[in-house]
């Protein structure tokens, strides 16, 4: 198994290098002067000369590529001209919001999608099955930004005054603040350092932070604000997961060992959950892993609608402000993240399915 994992790790290196090459090439394709494209039209010649020298833009292309890769490996993702901050700093600030949203969307799509798929498969061709599949088809066809806007309209305006009313924007109600868990616990953290950054990062995820300090009122408020964006981002993956679970379950339910389990007198529910579902879940791991790309893409479109200041929001703002550096760096980061996620999915297969190890 170690050989398999090592081989899989080694094969991702060319892909990672390829990602860097593509983003590098994209940056070189910016029409006109790269300095003014990145620093803005108002950059003076002196600033541009310094910029060109610092980034080695006067050197041959292969050397430039090596410089670019070295910079990224050193954690230097460039600077946002619009905000005057290093991109890495922006990433640490904004990622918790996006991560929280993506995880909430993922949990929503799994918790609803898998049971729906199972019920559809078990009650094949029934009204529930047909209804679920119609909904799944509509779900994958919906533009996520439209769904987000419609949800905001329905739950914030149409249902206003009912218990179902939900806030359409922000992460907490106005006036509320969640104190970081390390302050509440009375921990003294230094000014800098990895541990401090990690704690700050965790404390910015409102749901986890309010759980850590055990404040249920704050937790409820944070959750209420998370529901609409999570449903918007999670609907397309939910539809895909429901469809995959259904077809995978139908495949497994038709197999001999399931019939054998039923024939020896095991109750139907037990066969479905213990025998069939475990095997049917395998292809789903890949689908859920790959859906993360959809979660992130969805986050770019959804965060702007729900007024969340995450990675997606900053991507959107940078696109409109032509802040190329940020768009490029975030694309690299997300693509690398995506590759690592796929790697984890592949490796998790060796634990879930022994046949992969023997291959």
């Amino acid at each position: 198994m170690t050989t398999y994992i090592l081989r899989r790790l080694l094969t991702s290196i060319p892909v990672l290098l390829g990602i860097l090459f593509v983003t590098f090439a994209l940056a070189r394709l910016i029409p006109g002067d790269p300095c003014r494209a990145i620093l803005g039209e108002k950059a003076t010649d002196v600033i541009c000369d310094e910029f060109i020298r610092r980034h080695g833009l006067d050197k041959p292309i292969p050397t430039q590529f090596i410089i670019y890769v070295t910079e990224i490996l050193h954690g230097d993702l460039g600077t946002s001209i619009r905000l005057g901050k290093p991109v890495t700093e922006l990433l640490v600030e904004r990622l918790p919001t996006t991560l929280e949203l993506s995880l909430a969307a993922m949990i929503f799509s799994i918790l609803i999608g898998i049971p729906l798929g199972i019920i559809s498969a078990v009650r094949h061709n029934s009204a529930i099955d047909v209804g679920t599949m119609v909904l799944a088809n509509v779900g994958v066809s919906m533009p996520v930004f439209w769904l987000g806007l419609m949800l905001a309209y329905i739950f914030a305006l149409v249902l206003k005054g009912t218990p179902l009313q939900l806030p359409p924007s922000g992460r907490l109600s106005p006036g509320l603040m969640i104190p970081p868990f390390y302050d509440v616990w009375g921990w003294q953290l230094g000014k800098e350092g990895l541990i401090k950054s990690l704690f700050v990062f965790i404390s910015q995820m409102n749901v986890i932070n309010s759980l850590l300090i055990w404040r249920m009122d704050l937790l409820w408020d944070a959750l209420k604000h998370l529901i609409l964006p999570a449903v918007a981002v999670g609907t397309i993956p939910l539809a895909i997961i429901a469809r995959m679970t259904r077809s995978s379950m139908l495949d497994v339910l038709g197999q001999d060992y399931v019939r054998a389990a039923r024939a020896k007198g095991l109750p139907r529910g037990m066969v479905v959950i213990k025998h069939a579902l475990r095997n049917a879940l395998l292809p789903l791991v890949t689908i859920i892993g790959l859906s993360f790309g959809a979660f992130l893409g969805g986050a770019v479109l959804t965060e702007t609608i729900f007024g969340l200041s995450g990675v997606g929001r900053i991507m959107y703002d940078s696109i409109t402000a032509r802040d190329y550096g940020v768009v490029q760096s975030f694309t690299v980061v997300i693509a690398v993240f995506f590759v690592i996620l796929n790697l984890i999915v592949d490796i998790s297969y060796t634990f879930l399915d022994p046949r992969v190890r023997l291959d």
Partner: protein
């Protein structure tokens, strides 16, 4: 040939007799005939086809059925206000008011006419990006699959890299650099979808190239270009048709997303994503301006998704063997 024809005509009474005796017979039906029949047996695919036919009809006849010019500002032409709610005479809107069944947009234009013209644009967007991606993707995939070795490795590793990006984000990065605009957005969506077609083609070429008829062509002295593009490719089309149909749905959705972000079609073009993006902040005051363009996108994408799913099942020989489920 003539003898064969006569023989089949002669057999007909025999078929009729067997059928009369209640015995099952099978007449030869062409491959596409079977596929078509199986497609029509699937309710969802038929619904998809109907929606698509409806949208094509709208796109073709937009010039005649649209009550207004899609970019015409109605200030001074009619007594209408900015972002006015829909006015339908049949539903009780006073007769003296001009009828606008989907309301008036933020620039005082007729929303219904813009939605109708949008169908034309969306269908064109879907078809053109997928055609472009299929041509390039098929070419690359076919060469990679047929030649193998270094060529295969270089092409497919590059495709792997493109697939490593979440597609919408790569498209965003490309358009940010190329500059916003419909053509650039289409190009970006086409580029990010090339790897899918390259992979599909490569996989089918790999399986078809070992078949006897290809061997026969080779034995008869056919060059690799002829064998690949004249013999192998036409026989690997079926998976491409399915992927292409589903790909149109994704392309339309992605193009709408880019336009929504301001990277695709620019105002005043009647593009659904652009229309939605322009009015997104008015969702609480003028929800009709957000609802209709989004619904139109969903309907179009749904049509292609249903049709693509139906085609996949209809073209799948395994399903045919399992008694055409």
């Amino acid at each position: 040939m003539a003898a064969l024809k006569e023989e089949s005509i002669e057999k007909r009474p025999k078929v009729a007799r067997l059928e009369a005796e209640g015995l099952r017979t099978s007449e030869s039906i062409s491959f596409w005939g079977t596929v078509w029949r199986r497609l029509f047996r699937r309710k969802s695919a038929v619904v998809g086809l109907w929606i698509l036919a409806f949208l094509v009809l709208i796109a073709l006849t937009a010039d005649w059925i649209a009550p207004y010019d899609p970019v015409q500002v109605l200030i001074g032409v009619e007594p209408v206000k900015m972002r006015q709610k829909p006015c339908i005479h049949l539903l009780g809107c006073p007769e003296d008011q001009p009828q606008h069944i989907m309301g008036i947009d933020g620039n005082v234009r007729d929303q219904f006419s813009r939605i109708l013209y949008g169908a034309r644009l969306s269908l064109l967007v879907g078809l053109s990006t997928v055609t472009f991606a299929i041509i390039i993707g098929t070419f690359l995939g076919a060469i990679a699959g047929y030649l193998g070795g270094v060529v295969d490795n270089v092409i497919m590793r590059f495709m792997d890299v493109l697939l490593a990006f979440p597609s919408l984000l790569l498209a965003i990065a490309i358009v940010t650099i190329l500059g916003p605009g419909l053509i650039n957005a289409l190009l970006a969506i086409a580029i990010v979808s090339i790897p899918t077609y390259a992979r599909v083609t490569r996989a089918t070429v790999l399986s078809v190239r070992e078949m006897d008829f290809v061997e026969a062509s080779r034995a008869m002295g056919g060059g690799w270009g002829y064998i690949l593009f004249g013999r192998i490719l036409p026989n690997s089309l079926t998976p491409l048709i399915v992927t292409g149909t589903l790909g149109i749905a994704t392309a339309i959705l992605d193009a709408a997303a880019l336009s929504f972000l301001g990277l695709g079609a620019q105002p005043p073009t009647p593009e659904w994503g652009t229309m939605l993006g322009a009015e997104r902040n008015q969702v609480f005051t003028a929800p009709h301006l957000v609802f209709f363009p989004g619904f139109a996108i969903m309907l179009t994408v749904l049509a292609f998704n249903l049709l693509g799913d139906g085609l996949r099942d209809a073209l799948d020989p395994r399903l045919a063997q399992r008694g055409e489920e």
